[in-house]
């Protein structure tokens, strides 16, 4: 097998909070192959966005830092890269779209300018060429009447259209990786389906690898080949989507899947957010503890779960799980 496009190894991200320093991401490892799509799922506060921001080199200034581990992109360790080098990569080789289409675009510039700007920064296009390209990109993300809409301001567009603009912007430089952080959470259901379709089509056309962050198990099944279930800053389970959905090994994954009845059904209004596993994610302060952090909510907890952090075990097919009882499930 050739080297993966992105290889995250033993990543630890620390946040400096008022009282102390906590590992918001703790010993996370995963790989992303070229043209592959991988999904991150997990409840709010599990560190999904933090992982994405770390890859972009955009951890909150003075608060978050990569404490150890590496993020190898195309053979280059991004945790060691200079700010200038990261700026070259951002928006060009790796780009990102965010959860909030309503506020993620700058209100005082036209959408055309905001797309053209990326092209000028990374591709050295001139004013005119970049603008023409912006028109084409708007058309590619299926905004009707792109030639006219390109000089609209964000406030003249709907949420779905704005997210399309964000996608056009992110894909403008044909990045190798697109990180989509809950791209549809703020949109209504029919628009969600359209955006997923669009992302799927664009992925097929461009071969961009996608890291999809979502609460939506249906979207995972639809969009990705592999998935990572995150819990409290740690990888709970990683493996092929079909395999995990069919045979989840981690009790947390089982809980997540159990609360989405029609998981393999196609896009429907019945998709639910993953908020139904009883109990809540432990507070950030407890993230560093040497134990299984899911133990307090776990139906199969035993003493060892509270005494020691479970090791990550990987089976020959590449399906790994961090649970003292992961084997029992199979």
């Amino acid at each position: 097998m050739s080297d993966p496009l992105l290889k995250v190894q033993n990543l630890r991200i620390e946040l400096t909070t008022r009282d102390d320093v906590v590992p918001v991401i703790d010993d996370l490892s995963f790989e992303l192959a070229a043209q592959e799509s991988i999904s991150f799922v997990g409840e709010s506060g599990c560190g999904k966005s933090m992982t994405a921001l770390a890859i972009m080199g955009l951890l909150p200034e003075k608060i978050g830092r990569v404490a150890s581990g590496s993020i190898i992109f195309d053979g280059e360790d991004l945790t060691q890269a200079s700010e200038d080098r990261l700026r070259e990569i951002r928006g060009n080789d790796i780009s990102m779209i965010f959860q909030e289409p309503m506020t993620s675009l700058n209100p005082v510039y036209t959408v055309g300018e905001q797309i053209a700007e990326v092209l000028r920064a990374h591709q050295g296009l001139g004013q005119q060429a970049a603008w023409t390209m912006a028109e084409e990109l708007l058309d590619a993300v299926r905004i009707p009447n792109a030639k006219r809409r390109v000089s609209d301001y964000p406030f003249q567009m709907s949420g779905g259209q704005r997210q399309r603009v964000m996608i056009a912007m992110a894909l403008a430089c044909k990045p190798k990786i697109l990180i989509a952080d809950e791209p549809t959470t703020a949109l209504d259901v029919t628009v969600q389906a359209q955006i997923f379709d669009l992302l799927n089509d664009l992925r097929r056309q461009t071969g961009t690898s996608i890291i999809m962050i979502t609460h939506d198990m249906g979207a995972v099944a639809e969009m990705s080949e592999r998935m990572i279930v995150m819990y409290a800053g740690r990888g709970a389970e990683i493996g092929g989507v079909d395999e995990i959905i069919e045979k989840p090994l981690h009790p947390y994954t089982q809980g997540l899947i159990a609360c989405v009845p029609h998981i393999l059904a196609t896009v429907s209004a019945e998709r639910e957010r993953l908020l139904e596993v009883p109990g809540i994610v432990p507070s950030l302060r407890e993230f560093g503890k040497d134990q299984c952090l899911f133990a307090s909510r776990c139906p199969v907890r035993t003493d060892i779960c509270l005494q020691k952090r479970p090791p990550i075990e990987t089976d020959p097919s590449g399906h790994s799980v961090a649970c003292w009882h992961g084997k029992d499930a199979s």
Partner: protein, 317 residues
């Protein structure tokens, strides 16, 4: 619509001004008679009749407004000149002072504000905080007199009085340079409060803007820090500052009166002083009218500037 409000406002200013002046004790007849070394009632009455001062209040007001609409602000008894002409002679000096002070305050205020927003813990930031507190609490005439003393006694770099040096003659650029040198101290004095005000305001809005989602987007696009701050953040932070500048325009006009007095700047403020002391009612009314006009034009320009920086203002489709 804006223009309609402006006209109504102007009319209200006229009526109010005239009433205030009318209610104040003492009129032109008193002044003229004093300058003649006293006069008896008969002469006073004659003067009043000559100038229409014996007519009922409303009639006088009606006359006044009617004339103002034709830009006839009456005749100054004291300066013996038409008021409009008198004001138009002095207005450019005041406008020069106020506009350059406003520009200085905006540019410096925004630059300081942006700088300290970017470096919240730097020494420069504490300096801005201190300076703005100082600038904000020091009265204009105090700052003015301080600068006046400093520059007339200690460091004679800039002239401390007047607007031009009568001994200097020459081409446009020589005169321009002369006026510019005279302008420095009054301009700094007048703008100090406003530099403080705008720098605090722009620091606050800039800090807020820098946390916005679209700033994260701009960074995620791989734009340089300069572009993120000066293109994406700054334009979004300007609206509150521009709005404030519009509101402060009238404060600046009244500040100019004091500054002109301190530095003998030959503008409307100096004229206002002279005419108040002389109880020269038509001139005072004219000055108030023109000041209101300037403030209203200032507000309309503010509106225009707001539309330029924020497409959401006005032209909603």
């Amino acid at each position: 619509m804006r223009v309609f409000y402006a006209v109504v406002l102007l009319a209200a200013v006229l009526v109010l001004n005239f009433s205030l002046m009318h209610l104040a004790p003492g009129d032109v007849a008193d002044t003229i008679s004093q300058s003649m070394g006293g006069a008896d009632q008969e002469i006073l009455d004659k003067i009043r009749a000559d100038y229409g001062l014996d007519k009922p209040f409303l009639v006088q007001l009606g006359h006044y407004i009617g004339r103002v609409l034709q830009f006839d602000l009456g005749h100054s008894f004291f300066f013996n000149q038409p008021v409009t002409q008198l004001i138009l002679q002095r207005l450019p000096a005041t406008l020069l002072l106020v506009i350059s002070a406003q520009i200085l305050a905006l540019v410096l205020g925004v630059v300081l504000g942006v700088y300290s927003a970017r470096k919240p813990n730097s020494i420069a930031n504490y300096f801005v905080t201190f300076f703005s507190l100082f600038g904000y609490s020091a009265p204009v005439f105090w700052t003015g007199i301080l600068l006046l003393i400093a520059f007339s006694l200690k460091i004679p770099w800039f002239p401390v009085a007047g607007m031009r040096d009568v001994t200097i003659s020459g081409g446009f650029w020589i005169q321009f340079w002369d006026v510019a040198r005279h302008l420095v101290l009054p301009m700094i004095t007048l703008s100090s409060i406003f530099i403080a005000l705008y720098s605090r305001l722009s620091r606050a809005t800039m800090m807020e803007t820098l946390g916005a989602d679209y700033i994260r987007t701009a960074k995620a696009k791989g734009l340089s820090n300069r572009q993120v701050i000066y293109k994406h953040a700054l334009k979004n932070s300007l609206s509150p500052v521009i709005t404030q500048a519009g509101i402060q325009f009238s404060a600046m006009m009244s500040g100019a009166v004091l500054v002109e007095a301190v530095f003998s700047w030959p503008g409307l403020g100096t004229l206002a002083f002279q005419s108040i002391i002389a109880r020269d009612t038509p001139t005072i009314l004219g000055i108030l009218f023109f000041s209101a006009l300037v403030v209203i034009v200032g507000n309309l320009l503010t509106d225009l500037a707001l539309r330029l920086v924020d497409p959401r203002v006005g032209g909603r489709k």
